[in-house]
Symmetry: D4
Subunit: 207 residues, 8 copies
């Protein structure tokens, strides 16, 4: 892409034949391709010729067409921090998007602020990052606590984990935007692709 | 009151003559009285006979009619924790309501989570409380952090400090309700009176 | 837990293998464990070794690992009041959380304010409580009526029973927060676990 | 009016000269007229010839042009019940609209459900009504309690008294609509004119 | 009921065994009973002894236990007006509630305001009513047009028919409440039972 | 403008010196200019040299720089229909925008649907239009009624007249969008400029 | 229709027998008919006699009864522009509605503003239109960009494609209404029928 | 600050004496200080000793205590792009925050997408940036267009410029979050300080 990040194919509301056509074209063009929000039922409805070339991950609902260039070490710099186990699917979408662009990122999970000592125990590791993607649902207090503790830019990725007033991620999103810690950056709810795309743009700056 | 807490007079939308009539009746009955949300312009429009008997505090907009019973030591047990300086007016409404009912409560301010070490420095003091009133606007991350650190029940009192998605205290309220820390209790935005009334009911249990 | 209340395992969005791993660890550590929002399909997908040690209650969607310590009488002090029969699943989540922590609580149901005499008939029983958990959906008028009648702190637990403007419990939640009765405390919609956790913190104060 | 209720002149966003023109026409036609939401500054900007014929009430912001027909006893049947003193301005708008149409209605105030005994003390009087207009702000629990106690139709008139989640009357409106008591009828927030208009249509049925 | 309207059994979130228990008790007491929001799957899960005594109507999801008293003519006075065919299920809930209480009401459908002449063609019939229940989804313009044309009180019953900004009946509800026609009365979205209960209270006044 | 409509200067949040600079440039360029949302205080703060060339209309808060080309008859085709007197300021913004572009449009006011006969009396006149701009606040029922009666495209312009659920024009906007009459087109609340701009684009098609 | 556009049959919430009755009547009257929001399960539940005469398109969920008049060339003038592939179902509803009324409209897809050059490449084609229907979900930036580039009126048709804050098309709708480009016209979310109906009314003006 | 960005003093809801105390302490400590949301009336209420050391800018409502270290060239890398003139106050808050931290940033204004060629004319200049702060109110289409054209990370800063559905910046915020361009990052409405703080964290990475 002209912007340093590849456009992904958002599969959510595409028919299998539409996805297949896009894949066939990319295969013909020998282009690598990232597919997001690809449901298992959509994947299984693809013709075998398409499916066989895809690295499909059902938990993150991403698929990657085309192998990474051989001999290339993945670049580092991003760390993904998730408040709970429930946020791992979104964390995977971010990690796979980073990986597609040549970046490896560790995922540090289950460090929500209700148990602050668990977060503190991982702080040194987090502080090695040049950019942090923080994922939380419910009330999203993790964003502010983290941003007050690290120097790197923090990308807050609210997840739709929660119920009642937190249903669909609204409370976490608002915590990200209203954070009292300077410089928290937000993306849309469950937008692991977007958080990773932004992280890549930041990491690309210094490479 | 039959419920262990006195009904206060909510003055916000009462005319001065209505407030004066209530005060005159209480004076005649030799009853003590707590007035809340009394604006300075309302206070100054009261007849002098009413005003002279009132202990009026413009910052919390509360007024108290009648002296506490002499020789009574204020009871302890509540601690009020405020994230920022901007939350102090609401903190005062809570403190004055507690005081009216015979309870003294220290106010610990400017301990928002963007500077976690400031909160940690006051933690021992906060842990002496039998009930904690926590006040925060913006994203209200303080509620979850605090509730993960203390054994006492935490009453989350969202304040209307904030702008954009946090305007009018909605984001802080949602953080209180969606907190991932077990057992956070919420009252309405800016409801210092209600938070104190609940704290008093809890403190009354053990006295 | 450091806060007097155990962290429960919120199972809603966890995979069976993730839940099994948590259970295996607790069994190895000989720790008791409370699981909430565990759907029957999740429970039945657990390995038999996990399932057999669990006391699973499908209506409240809770499961308890580990027997209570023998010879211990359950402590009293909490009463659960539910406006309608539809609120009983939420009431059960609260009762089971209390029970896990060694507290027994009677459930008084079908006492909504449209039939005030039904509530009045149970008032003496309710007044024995040191803390009341009140559950209501629809317009949540029960919270204010009850809080005006009892001395104990009232924890308002809005349920998602309702349609139209009451859909998903919003109207009941707002009634809890805006109550004209002093000192009503609110938790998130359908949060039986949180209401019980707060009640336990309050009951622990005096024990 | 063809519907048994006169169209009123909603003055809120009309210029004084527009109001004056309407009044002059009515005077020429010898028609009686009800003006609502007429602010004092608008009233005082009217030419003296208009002002002198008007019975203006600043608290309800209504004005009436033209005397009632002499020798006519006001008809009865409606009772207005207000939860708090703060609801009295809205109560007056309703009472004045009823009066304009030849109906007298007592106003029973300060009977909110936080003090249920105050409501019970006035119940016999309320039960004489053929139609009840109930006014409440905050959480609006009064609507459900009242509708469970009287046989007459209850028109719930939410007032904009309240703050936080109750700001602008939304919580009270939702309580009216979601009431668990059968047959509560709602009008818009602060719409004393509309509540009275509906009451008049009901009372007209049997006269 | 003490209020002139029977409490109905709202079955939506009740288990079949709970519904059966209520029915058995009513059969034992020889009481008639109205059940609302009873889904076919719930009805079919009832024991045969319960089902056989019930007059179940799947479209309105209502069931009636017990025959009307023989020799009684249904009373008249209510008319139900529905904007579209899609509103007929809600119309049926209202009609069946009226019927349970001894009132017959014609349903006049497909008279939405986009084809005003269709409404005008039925106006004489509508004008015979002592109370009108008007049902509309989408933008709910029918409420205002009708209320400007008839003398009887108009109960606006917004239906959840619609999409986009009209999804779930919100736009129609707001049209009912904000109507520029004096005296429109509103009930909750899809609340056919409530609209009928209110109509019955009004009709009972004059009988 | 390249789109057949001139960009207007939205003055709402501009400083007088910013507006003056824009005007000076236009005068130097001998360009005509339309200014919208220009408050009287802003107008009066402009230097005299700017003010003298402006045709300022305080009610619509518009100002026009430069005379229409002489000898040109204004073109016809648009009709503006306003539900109430309160909508006249918005109607003027639309009319002045049309006039700036060489179109004259009659304003037909006070024809809200609560008095349907008033609308019917003006129908022939309205039916002469090639495009209708319909303005209504409150519940906006006018949009649907009108669109069902005329062949021309109807541009619904919701006004912010209203209170309670209609506050700020939301209810009227939703009625416009959810209209059951085919082909109603909506613009933003109070956007008289935008409604006129769209009307001009439509009228330009056939000229 | 009296308005130049046929009323379509909105099938969404109609029973198959209700749809069949409408079709039978139209067949008897030899009228053409457009059905919208007809789900495949509804279509297949129709009696064969109905189905055989229908031209059903499952992607747009429209069906057409009756052939176009032979020898008639479809009229031109409308162009449909869709931001993404996901918007094609809504685009089809609009195209089929136009076609039913004798208008042919090309669909230009996958020209969202994230890749501005793709839109620019099609601009000449779009500029041939007398009216443009623009479809976009997510943030709907396409509406403003397009309206700044073409002279024809632009009808913005927000689609429900999106998640998080864009769920259900709200963000795109608000972009349409708040557009800084003069004269964007909006219809309800996913309302392909309405957008086409409005376009037809505009195209009819000049034919 | 420990995070590479100084905590600023948010003055909005602080009393002048509170601000003065903070300033006096900073003067005593010889610390530089950034004050945001300082209204002129607050500034003028400060004691002269405080005021004289402050560089106050009324348009951005920021004040800076303490001169930049002499001889230091401001660092470059950020560019601020504003859609309209109305966004300039927010742009200034961002620019002043950057300046306080030693970064200079040009402001490119009046390049909203309704006039795309104006944006294109400045594109080369914008492409020199290592991080772009984009400011827009109304529908915020600028964010997506810009992010599709530049390689640098784009921080979307929605402004509260707008009315109707765009009032208070909500529509622009949602456009930022729902952008179809990969990697747009959002901050709260009107949060110029936060956008700059995030930009500084990004720029600090490479210095
Ligand atoms: N998961 C995702 N969330 C947000 N945007 C996405 C996602 N996946 C792809 N996109 C972007 O959304 C657009 C998808 O467009 P299309 O695949 O053409 O419908 C492209 O600009 C993608 O880069
Ligand atoms: N600041 C406050 N917030 C919430 N409720 C209050 C407040 N002050 C008083 N109240 C209660 O609100 C009610 C006010 O009633 P009244 O003064 O009679 O209108 C009483 O039940 C008071 O206890
Ligand atoms: N306070 C009020 N609330 C609601 N509607 C009103 C009120 N006062 C008058 N109206 C109605 O609103 C319309 C006012 O129209 P107009 O005075 O012509 O702008 C008429 O139909 C009145 O009957
Ligand atoms: N009253 C109005 N409502 C909506 N848009 C307007 C209005 N007046 C002017 N505009 C448009 O808003 C933009 C104003 O931009 P500017 O004057 O540069 O801040 C231009 O595209 C105008 O055509
Ligand atoms: Mg965890
Ligand atoms: Mg501070
Ligand atoms: Mg019951
Ligand atoms: Mg009172
Ligand atoms: Mg129809
Ligand atoms: Mg009028
Ligand atoms: Mg695409
Ligand atoms: Mg401009």
């Amino acid at each position: 892409g002209r912007t340093g990040v590849a456009e992904a194919v958002l599969c959510d509301s595409k028919l299998p034949e539409q996805i297949a056509a896009i894949l066939d074209q990319a295969i013909a063009d020998r282009r690598r391709l990232l597919l997001t929000r690809l449901r298992p039922d959509q994947f299984h409805a693809l013709p075998h010729s398409c499916r066989s070339g895809l690295d499909f991950d059902p938990s993150s609902r991403t698929a990657i067409l085309g192998a990474p260039r051989p001999g290339r070490e993945p670049k580092t710099g991003a760390v993904i921090v998730a408040a709970g186990t429930s946020d791992l699917a979104v964390a995977s979408e971010a990690a796979r998007t980073l990986s597609f662009h040549g970046y490896a990122a560790p995922v540090i999970a289950d460090v929500g602020v209700a148990g602050l000592w668990r977060l503190m125990a991982r702080l040194e590791e987090i502080r090695t990052a040049r950019v942090v993607i923080a994922i939380a649902g419910m009330e999203g207090a993790l964003f502010s606590v983290l941003a007050g503790l690290v120097e790197a830019p923090v990308i807050a990725l609210p997840s739709s984990v929660g119920y009642g007033v937190a249903a669909n991620g609204q409370a976490a999103l608002h915590s990200a935007l209203a954070s009292c810690a300077p410089g928290v950056l937000a993306v849309n709810i469950d937008n692991g692709f977007g958080a990773a795309a932004a992280a890549i743009k930041i990491l690309n700056l210094s490479s």
